[in-house]
């Protein structure tokens, strides 16, 4: 719990203990003292991540009903189900910081907390299921693997499990695209068209360039974040280029080439104005994604109320039963 001790001395001692834990690369645990800003930053980041998992169920979930084989239908349904599970772990991690799942959901629906901008792009063909696995989950893994060692314990542990499952997701996406590339000309064209649409939004998933990322420096100092946006983006490009070659698709960037001197690929700039617009709420699907989530939440309200009412009634029955016929008042 956060405390606000009267004596500045105690405050300093707590801060020093926190700083030492961070310096040792150790974990901060829920019951440890932590600065209010650290707590707020974590809530913001973990909630955004949780919301991304839940909103992220929609673009791919839309294709479960249309999956073109029974095997692909099972894979996709299991994958989208995993995302609900990730959302659950992350909301739970957030609850250790004193914010409930219901509060976070309401902040999301009120537009006061964000989710990853990538999910505001539409899915237009079945190839998008593959591309999302390969590029979007691939970019997410680049962002998330370092978070397995983030300074806040419950978040780091949730991330270990999530990253393992995400690597399956990436694999299934790549495998779908690989299979489609061995299919018909129409399927190959579908894959290329999908990659063309998702390449730039995937690069945007790492966030704005380092110079324009307002929260990055402090998050790095706290060990909440471990690498800069540009570093991770470069890593993603370097890893993806040979995969695209193996697949037989072209990445839609005329400036993309190997730079011998740097030992990295050079690549063009994503359209940062587009990213800003999507974050602001003006992306192709922002309104639709929130509307879908709000409808599900509101449609389920009567069920959640019924479950609470039933649980408290059952608890009363159990209490009065165990208290015996004359112990009813005491049991309450």
């Amino acid at each position: 719990m956060t405390t606000t001790p009267a004596e500045p001395e105690l405050q300093e001692r707590l801060q020093a203990g926190f700083d030492a834990t961070i310096a040792r690369n150790d974990r901060i645990e829920p019951r440890d003292w932590m600065p209010d800003d650290y707590r707020r930053t974590l809530v913001r980041q973990i909630a955004q991540h949780a919301h991304s998992e839940i909103i992220g169920m929609q673009p791919e979930g839309a294709w479960i009903g249309r999956a073109p084989s029974l095997r692909r239908k099972a894979i996709l349904l299991a994958k989208v189900q995993d995302e609900a599970g990730h959302g659950l772990y992350l909301y739970s991690a957030c609850e250790t910081l004193g914010v409930s799942r219901i509060e976070l959901t309401e902040l999301l629906l009120a537009g006061r907390q964000k989710y990853s901008s990538i999910f505001n792009y539409p899915t237009l063909s079945y190839a998008d299921v593959g591309t999302i696995g390969w590029l979007v989950d691939g970019a997410a893994i680049c962002n998330q693997v370092p978070l397995c060692r983030t300074s806040y314990g419950p978040y780091g542990r949730a991330m270990i499990r999530i990253c393992k499952e995400e690597s399956f997701h990436q694999r299934q996406g790549y495998e779908l695209l690989m299979t489609m590339m061995r299919g018909t000309d129409a399927q190959r064209a579908m894959v290329q068209e999908s990659v063309d649409r998702f390449w730039w939004p995937s690069l945007m998933m790492f966030g704005p360039p380092d110079g324009e990322s307002p929260n990055s420096a402090r998050s790095m100092a706290w060990g909440v974040k471990r690498n800069s946006n540009d570093e991770l983006r470069q890593r993603f490009v370097d890893m993806t280029v040979p995969q695209a070659d193996a697949l037989g698709v072209t990445l839609p960037d005329p400036d993309l080439r190997w730079n011998e001197e740097r030992g990295h690929h050079d690549f063009g700039d994503p359209d940062w104005a587009e990213l800003a617009a999507v974050i602001r709420g003006d992306g192709p699907c922002n309104a639709e994604r929130l509307r879908h989530r709000r409808t599900a939440h509101e449609d389920g309200a009567w069920v959640r109320e019924a479950a609470s009412a039933f649980a408290s009634r059952s608890a009363e029955v159990a209490a009065s039963a165990s208290a015996g016929p004359s112990g009813g008042a005491g049991a309450r």
């Binding site: 979930g61 609900a84 694999r171 299919g183 471990r226 389920g300 959640r304």
Partner: protein
């Protein structure tokens, strides 16, 4: 300091596919199972029977999966997806078994099409060729609707699969043995929610009773007997659903009694000239469902997925 990045990506190109859940190696859903049809069993009847049970699972799974990302809470979203996945797995095996028993049932596709037989059956048949009960196909309603539908469906299917474990057909016996474990959970989950909604709020009880009234006319079809079922039951291959009726009624009455909900007094939904879902005569809902389910597969009859 981030060497651990590498491990996540190792194996994306080439590498050992055994480490991945969905590698390319797993193709034949009946690999390793003896698919010989027992002596004296009519191949066409066996195929038709597998399609009935497989279509029930497939169509029910399709409706359940429509709930994905729409459930009242994350826990229910995950549970509904689990149940849909279980039924999808059963469907895949049963459709593959139908194709193996009598290849004539598999729709013709362009020469050289790599579409496997169970997918041809799922995605290239028209509504009139589906043998599922009509309960599975009706459009989704609210959460009470999905709970009632699942309760009615799983109580019957579990009673059926318990008996089917003794089938002289090895494949059906295996599918049933696996299915019994799954259906036990489905029935339990649906019954718990039935009790919760009945004993929750006035609103939840009202919705539950409405859904039960709406779906009850579809229930008798679950325990009605089609001639193929009767014939295969006599051969020791299948189960006559009528033999599950007493057990099904008993379990439903128990759930109704515990929840204080009256057993609906509504007559069965008529067929047309005695034909119902099992005969390929469906509600209007099925062709709409298939239009969505089959759209991508049908656009690419030679596609490789």
């Amino acid at each position: 300091m981030n060497d651990d990045h590498g491990s996540v990506f190792d194996g994306l190109i080439g590498g050992d596919s055994a480490q991945w859940a969905f590698g390319t190696d797993f193709e034949d859903p009946l690999a390793g199972v003896d698919t010989t049809v027992p002596d004296g069993v009519d191949h066409a009847e066996l195929a038709a029977y597998c399609l009935m049970l497989g279509d029930d699972a497939l169509i029910m799974s399709q409706r359940l999966s429509e709930w994905c990302s729409r459930a009242p809470d994350l826990e229910e979203d995950i549970a509904l997806a689990n149940i849909a996945l279980d039924l999808l797995g059963q469907a895949r095996l049963l459709l593959a078994r139908a194709a193996a028993a009598d290849p004539v049932v598999v729709p013709a596709l362009p020469e050289g099409s790599p579409v496997p037989a169970e997918d041809a059956l799922a995605f290239f048949r028209d509504a009139g060729q589906f043998g599922n009960v009509r309960l599975a196909e009706v459009a989704n309603g609210d959460f009470a609707h999905v709970i009632v539908r699942l309760l009615l469906f799983s109580v019957s299917r579990l009673a059926l699969l318990e008996r089917l474990r003794a089938s002289i057909d090895t494949v059906l016996a295996h599918v049933a043995a696996k299915g019994v474990k799954e259906l036990t959970y489905h029935r339990d989950w649906a019954a718990r929610w039935f009790l919760t909604l009945a004993g929750g709020t006035e609103e939840s009880r009202r919705r539950l009773v409405t859904a039960l009234g709406d779906l009850w006319p579809y229930q008798p079809e679950l325990v009605a007997t089609h001639p193929v079922e009767l014939s295969l039951a006599r051969a020791g291959v299948g189960v006559d659903p009528a033999t599950t009726r007493a057990e099904v009624d008993g379990i439903l009455d128990q759930v109704f009694a515990m929840s204080g909900v009256a057993r609906p007094d509504r007559p069965p939904l008529e067929g047309e000239g005695g034909r119902t879902g099992r005969h390929g005569t469906h509600t209007e809902a099925l062709s709409g469902l298939l239009a969505e389910m089959q759209v991508v597969a049908r656009a690419h009859p030679s596609g490789r997925w």
